[in-house]
Symmetry: C2
Subunit: 339 residues, 2 copies
Amino acid sequence: MTSIHDLARETGVSTATVSRALRGLPRVSPDTRERVLDAAVRLGYTPSPHAVGLASGGRTRTIAIVVLWVTRWYFSTVVHGAESLLRERGYDVLLYNIGGDAEARRRVLLTQLLTKRADAVMVVGFTPTPEEVLWLGRHDVPAVTLGARVDEWPSVRIDDENVARVAVEHLVALGHRRIAYVGQLSDDGLDLATPRDRLHGYRESLRAAGVDPEESLEFDGGFTLDGGREAGRRLLQLRERPTAVFCASDEMAYGVLRSCLEAGVDVPREMSVIGVDGHDMAGFFDLTTVEQPVEQQGRAAARHLLQRLDPDDGEVGLVEHVEVPTRLVVRGTTGPACA
Amino acid sequence: MTSIHDLARETGVSTATVSRALRGLPRVSPDTRERVLDAAVRLGYTPSPHAVGLASGGRTRTIAIVVLWVTRWYFSTVVHGAESLLRERGYDVLLYNIGGDAEARRRVLLTQLLTKRADAVMVVGFTPTPEEVLWLGRHDVPAVTLGARVDEWPSVRIDDENVARVAVEHLVALGHRRIAYVGQLSDDGLDLATPRDRLHGYRESLRAAGVDPEESLEFDGGFTLDGGREAGRRLLQLRERPTAVFCASDEMAYGVLRSCLEAGVDVPREMSVIGVDGHDMAGFFDLTTVEQPVEQQGRAAARHLLQRLDPDDGEVGLVEHVEVPTRLVVRGTTGPACA
DNA sequence: CTGAAAGCGCTTACAG
DNA sequence: CTGAAAGCGCTTACAG
């Protein structure tokens, strides 16, 4: 492990000068700088992050990404987008995959550990509690949320209510009036904004279309494939069957499509199905959906943090709430309502 | 940030004693220990990982996981399995998602950075080069591979040749003789063992069944859904159409299923399709497949590293190559060959 | 059982 | 432009 001392000895200057030369600080003669840089390359020098961190008050060039379930498309795609940008800029990513476990979440977010191991935190998919916001704020850890929002932190997300509105309006425009919802109705205390907002948007836009939302048309699909399939089964057994379903995620929509297939219900002639996400396989299933740019959201959130950490000259430190645009992609699973 | 000095002052002992008490080291009176521990809790003390790392020769309680594509099922599932165990044991996970980029891979694996930031490395899905093996070995970084193998490191994987054999034998037993392969034929220099071994196993087991492998029946599906779909299209246009396809991944199999559907080819009556993986959606597609336990492989690899890092008493340091068992799951996409 | 002191590899005022 | 020295928060022989 070659250290700064080796470079100092090799080049005949002090370690202070080596340090300055290495980091491109001013007040080093071009000649000295060059000799140091050259030695660094020759001896294969890399700074010890521990020493740097200790000496310079804790900067680690590491960013923590806290997700709920890495194995789910939205989360892994966010991680993919964020990680690539961060690595490009010389930051490493600490991944915390806390699942539905509230205890794990507390440990990760409320522990001093996090504040000492990462320069910043990206919270993906859930709303941090006031306590968590306060804690990280007090420890000066810049944070950003993705797919959720608190006033104190910048956020990157889509307008979930609007997404629901776009989906429902598409169905209404096709003549549907009896429109079911498959989403998530209970939460296990995780306080997920997305399912709540999409449900709300669904109800509101039904009302706007002059239709009274009925609770009997709202199903819990748990945001999973199998949950969607099960919800689809129940929905198809309704005495007064709806003619369309708005699914709050594409994966649940796949499940609903499957249950239609199994029940011999023709899509879209007898049942229109629309999802949300623009999931990998939406094209594959020929699913009409409202697409959101997930990888870009990951990158945008990363960019936010990078700006907070290494502010460029004129940069002002506003708390920005970015809502990225979504896009209705009409495919084969939605069609006109038959009388 | 309360430090070890605060605790020393608070309890009236030296920092050396505080350090020993905190870490459960012997030669501390029970009374002292208790007072220190108590103060630590009261003052909300957490050690600075930087200081610990620097002082104790670099241990970071961090493990690097290097994957090719986090967004793909196999990789995210491995990460999920490994991370949960590691976090339980107090280790953090640094995630490197290098994609197909050979340059990124070199930077990540061959840089001193990695050796200084992580106590160990888990390489997922590709074979490290001799140079990489040498480098990490020289820097004393314990490593393990997943889904690949080098002699110098322990590994956790399935027997990919055998997986292919099991799949092909299942088809042969159903009377199929003309069996196509959809996998990956070229590699972009990444040197991925999995596609190569599965292809090899496919050819060998055909030969064992007295069938000569034909290159015209081997298709490149790039291990993606769309690649599989495209391969399926081409395969169905063959003048002498095969009666079965062995797909080296479930996702490619979904693609093939889709192309059968589009071409009006009945599965399994006119075409049997079998995959590999036990992917999330295999049941959904009613796909016959050879399942591998991916989450468990992630956990097993993590366990290996933990053992290397904190060897229990009698533990011997053998380089273990673990092959986890796979399981043929017969569903609806394979059936008897019709004459 | 406990403490004084050196050291881990850097950064950062402070002099010069 | 450069260097000597202190300090970041711990751990670790070495004495006692």
